[in-house]
């Protein structure tokens, strides 16, 4: 089964550029942990674990986009809308790290490249667009679905161009950059549409079942409804947890 590898393999991008992006990814993850912990409470932690597990599962579901070409969800926009941009980027990173270390998918040397593209660029681009769209669209399941769809298309294409940028900096072959860029953009528009449908369905479903668990509904609301009953924090693990 040679086609089950899904992310950048070792050797496609040279070692110095891979190392530089590993450093960049590390800094980005540190920032995400720092900012994300403001959002992470006892409720969001298991939810974020679930979002990561769900993204892992759906990434296995390659769908055909062209003859001989498939695509799979990246998950950045889905994660950002459900658990926020910082924790969302960490969810996608968790998936990529598990895939690399446990399932040998995505080279270890290329891990920083993959995290930069899918967890950082894809999530950031998609989230910024989603935040903009939600200023105009209603924060109900339909509005969230439209937002998730559009932001996913843009987020996926942005992530694909991250690879093109890395290839331009340190590709171990010398193919024409515009051609690579066009190939990647073309296939990833279609992949983004598939991702958008999945993300829209998922976000709308969660928004119907448990709107309180959708970050985009809670945090984008201008005036908070009575902040949900805050229970005394000393419920579990009294000591130095």
């Amino acid at each position: 089964m040679p086609n089950l590898a899904m992310h950048i393999s070792n050797g496609i991008i040279d070692a110095p550029v891979s190392a530089a992006f590993a450093g960049l990814a590390l800094v980005a993850l540190a920032i995400c942990v720092n900012r994300g912990r403001n959002d992470l409470d006892e409720r969001l932690a298991p939810m974020a674990g679930l979002v990561a597990a769900f993204i892992f599962a759906v990434q296995m579901l390659n769908f055909q986009v062209l003859p001989g070409v498939s695509g799979h969800l990246l998950g950045g926009v889905l994660a950002a809308m459900l658990v926020g941009p910082w924790v969302g980027a960490l969810c996608v990173s968790t998936v990529l790290i598990v895939q690399c270390l446990v399932l040998a998918d995505g080279g270890l040397t290329a891990l920083g490249l993959n995290i930069t593209n899918m967890a950082v660029i894809g999530t950031a681009a998609g989230y910024l667009l989603a935040a903009l769209l939600l200023r105009f669209l209603p924060k109900n399941p339909t509005g969230l679905a439209i937002t998730a769809f559009v932001a996913s298309v843009i987020g996926v294409v942005a992530a694909s161009q991250g690879f093109v940028f890395e290839y331009w900096l340190g590709g171990t072959t010398s193919l024409s950059i515009p051609v690579v860029s066009g190939t990647m953009a073309g296939s990833h528009v279609l992949i983004g549409i598939g991702e958008g449908l999945i993300a829209a369905t998922t976000v709308a479903t969660v928004a119907r079942v448990r709107p309180d668990l959708v970050y985009a509904m809670r945090r984008f609301r201008t005036k908070a409804a009575p902040v949900t009953p805050v229970r005394a924090p000393e419920t579990v693990a009294g000591g130095a947890a």
């Binding site: 040679p2 086609n3 070792n10 390659n62 924090p233």
Partner: protein, 132 residues
């Protein structure tokens, strides 16, 4: 912690397990958008091996963990491809949830940040500890 939340989490995990354990066997086996781009310029045989031309994928080096028990979404020693893919998916979902929940639990906010008044009110305003 609320029971309703955990019911939701359990349902979500169940859906994820079914997707990774069963539906994954019906996924397209064509190379994904990135892989297809790295193969552009090369010709491949029916099994996806490069037979000629010039493309990025020729520079690909082996994965450091190619011999790991779950490498390439299969389980070493299980010959049935459906079982092998499905079980690797189930294992991956559980590992990802475990690692994700574990890390997020460890780095979570230990006390209300103080930015939200409602949270502040819930805290007894006496203990102003050090680390946040």
């Amino acid at each position: 912690m609320s029971k309703r939340l955990w019911i939701f989490i359990a349902c979500g995990l169940f859906v994820s397990l079914v997707l990774a354990g069963v539906v994954s066997n019906f996924a397209s086996s064509s190379p994904d958008g990135l892989d297809a781009a790295t193969l552009k310029g090369c010709t491949t045989d029916a099994e996806g091996n490069i037979t000629g031309g010039t493309c990025m994928a020729q520079q690909t080096k082996d994965h450091q963990f190619k011999d790991s028990p779950l490498a390439d979404y299969g389980i070493k020693g299980i010959d049935n491809p459906y079982l092998s893919t499905g079980l690797s998916g189930v294992a991956g979902v559980l590992i990802t949830f475990g690692v994700g929940y574990g890390v997020f639990w460890l780095v979570r906010r230990r006390r209300p940040s103080g930015s939200e008044p409602a949270d502040e009110a819930a805290m007894s305003s006496s203990g102003s500890g050090g680390s946040s």
